[in-house]
Symmetry: C3
Subunit: 280 residues, 3 copies
């Protein structure tokens, strides 16, 4: 059973799975594959060659598969690259995902998110309202990007990273130029609100960048940096919970909501992972 609005415009070459819902004034282009149980809400535009994984929800006014610049030069000749959104995605309203983006399963994003071409996004990633992923970058599994974050091209953000509002990852050391050096953020790092990371910087494992910092040098593992420009403050273990006074970093040992070790604890999960790998 499908529920397709009579004001939707669906290409004959699109494959529409079982139990798909397509709202009013929706366009679905040639060669799209809309898997079972997907909802495409009112007023969405899905350009050609998009694959949307089963049970995903695409909110109103969203755009999937936006064409890249060559489209505007020769529209008739433009071939839409494949865009893939995994299973159980929740793409909220007004969001915009370019063509040639690959997103894993269990993705969720806020409203008005922009994700440009050649972004590779892992499983279980969250991206907040108005954030702008400029493409040609990678974002690892379970990474949480809050509202209004700007991820410049060539950025490499690992798994299990937290990036808070108004953070910018830059890439051009001598702007304007054609030499881009992306920022690298390693796993379990935290970048607090309003910080700017200069081109080519690496934030190492369990690193912590305090709010409103300007990061000009690499952040060592397990280290808190802060300030304009940022300097090293202390080991992350010295940051304490405000109420209990207890250690709370590296956060992976103290926080589990939404993480694969939820209810287990990080150590237990990590050991299980390690033995799984040995088993393979």
């Amino acid at each position: 059973m499908k529920k397709i609005s009579d004001t939707a415009r669906i290409s004959r070459s699109a494959k529409i799975g079982e139990n798909v819902v397509v709202g009013h004034n929706v366009t679905i282009g040639d060669g799209c594959v809309i898997e079972e149980g997907v909802t495409i809400s009112d007023n969405c535009i899905v350009y050609p060659n998009c694959e949307i994984g089963s049970n995903s929800f695409i909110g109103p006014f969203a755009t999937i598969g936006e064409p890249t610049f060559p489209y505007y030069e020769k529209r008739d000749e433009f071939v839409f690259p494949t865009t893939r959104i995994g299973k159980k995605a929740l793409v909220r309203s007004y969001s915009l995902i370019y063509s040639d983006v690959i997103i894993g399963d269990d993705f969720q994003c806020g409203h008005r998110v922009s994700i440009r071409e050649r972004a590779q996004i892992g499983n279980n990633v969250r991206i907040g309202t108005v954030s702008d992923i400029q493409g040609y970058c990678s974002i690892g599994d379970y990474t949480r990007i809050h509202s209004n974050v700007h991820i410049g091209q060539k950025s490499s953000v690992a798994a299990f990273v937290w990036i808070f509002p108004y953070v910018v990852l830059t890439n051009d050391p001598t702007p304007p130029s054609d030499e881009l050096y992306g920022v690298t953020v390693k796993s379990f790092s935290v970048i607090a609100t309003g910080s700017i990371l200069l081109p080519g910087i690496t934030v190492n494992l369990d690193g912590f960048v305090g709010a409103h910092s300007l990061v000009k040098k690499d952040v060592p593992a397990e280290t808190v940096v802060s300030g304009v420009p940022a300097s090293e403050i202390c080991n992350v273990r010295k940051l304490k919970n405000r109420k209990t006074g207890e250690t709370c970093y590296p956060w992976r040992f103290y926080f589990d909501r939404g993480m694969p070790w939820e209810g287990l604890g990080y150590e237990v999960w990590e050991k299980a992972q390690a033995s799984d790998k040995q088993g393979l």
Copy 2:
């Protein structure tokens, strides 16, 4: 006399007042109450159980009553809470107001504003383009929030506050965590462009936060703070008008555009308020 477009989709259980205008491709859900003289512009989505006060104007592509997360878990069982926008609102295009938001009369907002659930907004509030009110917060009467401001959950912003572009009110002292401490901003305060207020901070009456500051400590009443981190600079009375050299803070004594004391002066109005209260 109503002007309802023939491409609008209006639930039979919605109550549509006199002189209401409903544009093309508008959806109005079950149980909505659209009071007299309201305009719902083209392409708006009004989810169930929204009340829109008389003579309000909802601009194109706006969404009112956006469902919260439980909707995506069990859509059939989701009951939309009441959303209320007061009289004479002006909600500009592309803005998004969640369900379970209460907004007073004479509200105005810019474009692409997002207001999440459990935001309580007073009368005569202004919120600028792209600002993001994260919900579970309160904003008092006559408060002005400029463009691209981020109000974190648990924030408490009093009446007659001015917040300028790219200000962020944070809430998590040890991110990521589940312990949120909101920022409190008391009446007549000013927070200038690009400042970040750390979790749990209070800005007291007539306080002033200079541009691009990082506020880590409470701001005393009538005090200017500035810097990264912010330190106390002077009493607000020492800030002078650039042209005349005259005192201009606390601003309530020197500025009245759009305020209830417009044309009267703050002192006169304040005395009248006080005697009104005595009268009661």
Copy 3:
């Protein structure tokens, strides 16, 4: 040959040129002039009295000619001022251009850009996603404004300026007040990511503002400033390319992509310009 969707609503008084494409659910108001070869994509709203130059492309969900505040006071009496977008514009999706805006030829903007009334924008300008041009301002030819930039009212941005993400040009020295002093940015300047320029500041020819700065004083020509508050660091010629160690500023001598001197070099082009002027 025109391709006009049967769900478009086009005023009879609008002039639609040859080879114009008008998408689904588009509104085009009275007195509009849509020149030959223009595409107006699905779901766009073009208010009355807009002129869109030949071969321009207006992306989906865009709004052109948005009415200013007096419209909401007396809608029946509001006369839409002329809005003009030059030839070969590329206005990407969800962008919003107010009435009474004048934009030159070869304009390109990202998504969700807002441009308010009385903005005067030259030829060959680029404005990035989510940027907010507050109107009553001017932006010169070939200027590049990146994502999420805020240009306050009364700003004057010359030709060949580069402004990077999250920069704010402010205008009110004693907020809230009615005395606005715009920022002036002169040609060939660069303002790096996340900097805030205070009201009335001038950035002079070839000036460079480092990332995350708070600029409280004028920036002399050819000078690098940086910090909170910003202080003078060095002459721009001392900034070197990270890889080659070579001088790279003033950038006009070292970078030409998209500039009128592309392939020629700035000096050659500049001499040609000068002799052209003598010829006149």
